[in-house]
């Protein structure tokens, strides 16, 4: 039993990582209505900025603040320079642009910082909490706490602020939003900026666990997609719950289902994405979209 619970804890730890990136995906989807394939790479790039600041002698928390600010500005800049020219283009064009961005950011990080692993300071203490034969690492608890905090902030932003309302209007129908006086361009830029900031938090959280190198987030991305799909692309709470479920499901399947084993467990997100989309396309916590022809 203890072994089983320990596996669950392990899964929650992995799930917290997926959830942190899923939050950024949900955020950008809320603001702009697109799925950003480069989100993980942007998070990785932000983490390198934090690493560079720490390496230059900055204290960790100051480096974090600087990173979040730079990421926010960087996200807005990317929207202005790279996404704006294809605004209004078919979905596919924007998807391809984010794919191009993915390749570019990954290669640029490797070029600047090389592909060797960087040691990234862990903001949380080492060691683990021991209870009933199960041990929970403090860093896992820390990641879960920060993820919950970010989720709460996003919820407040979506539900109770004018910005949140405006951005939902833009994502739903840019033309109508513009007619009622919402500054669509500024809202989209804000969405990219905020998503990049949340991504930066995610990158900084996972870097001590996954180790920082340019491909750090590549493997996380598909799990984060599964998490966002499961929870619903328009729900921060859903992203977190989805992330945890995906993490636990994947870990347990790898440990206890003989046929899956550790090599085929990447099939778990596939099954989850497919299952959710067929049974409940809006996800566990999402609102079903009602369409008008």
């Amino acid at each position: 039993m203890a072994a089983f619970l320990q596996q669950v804890v392990e899964g929650l730890g992995a799930g917290a990582i997926y959830a942190s990136l899923a939050l950024a995906l949900v955020l950008i989807y809320q603001f702009t209505g697109i799925v950003n394939f480069a989100q993980g790479e942007l998070a990785m790039f932000s983490t390198y900025i934090a690493w560079q600041c720490v390496a230059a002698g900055m204290p960790f928390w100051l480096a974090l603040v600087v990173t979040l600010a730079v990421s926010f500005a960087g996200g807005m800049l990317i929207e202005r320079i790279i996404i704006r020219p294809v605004e209004g283009a078919p979905e596919l064009t924007i998807v391809i642009v984010t794919v191009g961005l993915f390749i570019f950011v990954n290669a640029a990080a490797g070029w600047i910082w090389t592909f060797l692993i960087k040691d990234f300071p862990n903001p949380f203490p080492g060691g683990a909490l021991e209870a009933a034969g199960i041990s929970v690492n403090f860093s896992t608890l820390g990641v879960l706490g920060v993820v919950a905090l970010v989720m709460g902030l996003l919820y407040l932003l979506f539900q109770y602020t004018k910005i949140g309302l405006g951005m939902r209007a833009v994502a739903a129908n840019p033309a109508s939003a513009r007619l009622v006086g919402i500054r669509v361009g500024r809202t989209l830029a804000l969405g990219w900026g905020l998503a990049a900031t949340v991504g930066a938090v995610s990158g900084v959280l996972v870097a001590p666990l996954l180790f920082l190198e340019p491909n750090m987030m590549g493997g996380v991305l598909i799990y984060a997609f599964a998490a966002a799909t499961l929870g619903g692309f328009d729900s921060p709470l859903g992203a977190v719950v989805g992330g945890l479920v995906v993490g636990v499901a994947e870990t347990l399947a790898g440990a206890y289902v003989g046929f899956i084993g550790s090599d085929l467990k990447v099939g778990v997100p596939l099954v989850i994405i497919l299952g959710v989309l067929l049974l409940r396309p809006q996800g566990l916590f999402g609102r079903a979209a009602v369409e008008r022809a």
Partner: protein
């Protein structure tokens, strides 16, 4: 042969009215002539490159049916390419089948798998389909490694390449090129006739407005699934030819990068046009080499920028861009 060609030519020129020279058919004829002439002129290395362009063009042709004509995004087309390649490799390796037979079988396996996956996948729209297909592409790599007795596991399978028959007097690279060219021409004719049929019209209708199409009686899921299966079939055929040409398959040849590169190549080449896949094939083949000529420290930087830049300058792809440029040249009528 020449008579059938003439038959096709006439209605096209008649439609345009009054014996005017039809650029379209002239262009195609010139292209085919050039394609037949090229391997006798080029060094084997360039012949090989052109062969690979054709292989990718066939795969993109299938992807174009799905993305360009039916309006569905697939980020996992490399998986069907891989299935075709592996089917072909296993048939050659384990069953010693003569290689011309492997092509229809590989295409059939890909078609059936596409059909099976298409049934659930086609209930999804837009980005969700992209996510599912992406997950399929990622999942395929460990799956191929799992069935080691059949697939050779992570070491892959090494195969003998088709040898040119003595009567042809061709070198190996030329023979492979002509085999690929034959497959490509057949694939293009098939795709063109598919699109001219009732099915093609149905696909266009549902791409342009799903709801309107449904109201008009187009069976949405049926045609979408069919489009998915066909596009898988073309990809499978391309994968099989790939196995002939490269003579080696391994799971690492078919990572998710391949799928992404294929989709990028198609969009850059131009969606929904017949020349798009060829231009896309050229892009997939040559741009990575060009990128590293520009910057050998990080070719990915240039590759990523080029994808974004093309989307900037030519949101309709290179085929659209070429069309726009030609239109700007004043023509004497």
């Amino acid at each position: 042969m020449s008579t059938t060609k003439a038959k096709v030519e006439r209605p096209a020129s008649v439609r345009k009215g009054g014996g005017r020279f039809d650029w379209r058919w002239a262009g195609l004829a010139a292209l085919l002539a050039a394609a037949v002439y090229a391997p006798f002129q080029l060094v084997p290395f360039h012949v090989f490159q052109l062969t690979m362009v054709l292989v990718y063009a066939v795969a993109l042709l299938g992807l174009n049916l799905l993305v360009g004509h039916a309006g569905q995004i697939s980020l996992g087309h490399g998986a069907f390419f891989a299935i075709g390649a592996y089917t072909c490799a296993i048939l050659l390796d384990r069953f010693d089948l003569p290689y011309p037979l492997t092509l229809p079988l590989a295409a059939a396996v890909a078609f059936v798998l596409g059909l099976a996956l298409g049934v659930p996948a086609m209930r999804l729209r837009g980005l969700y389909l992209a996510l599912v297909t992406l997950a399929i592409a990622i999942f395929l790599v460990p799956l191929l490694k799992r069935f080691e007795e059949l697939t050779g596991g992570s070491m892959g399978l090494t195969l003998a390449k088709p040898t040119p028959p003595a009567w042809s007097g061709l070198a190996e690279d030329q023979w492979l090129y002509f085999l690929t060219l034959a497959v490509a021409v057949a694939a293009f004719l098939l795709a063109a006739s598919l699109l001219r049929s009732r099915v093609g019209r149905a696909l266009h209708a549902l791409r342009d407005n799903e709801i309107a199409a449904e109201v008009m009686g187009v069976r949405l899921s049926f045609y979408k699934t069919l489009a998915f299966a066909w596009s898988a079939m073309f990809a499978g055929a391309a994968g099989c030819v790939y196995t002939w040409v490269i003579g080696f398959v391994s799971p690492d040849s078919f990572t998710v990068n391949l799928s992404i590169t294929l989709l990028a190549g198609l969009v850059v080449g131009g969606l929904g046009s017949l020349s798009g896949p060829v231009l896309g094939g050229l892009f997939v083949m040559f741009v990575p080499s060009i990128s590293q000529d520009i910057n050998d420290a990080a070719p990915g930087v240039i590759f990523g920028l080029l994808i974004i830049a093309v989307m900037y300058v030519a949101p309709t792809g290179l085929a659209g861009l070429a069309g726009r440029l030609i239109k700007k040249i004043p023509r004497k009528e």
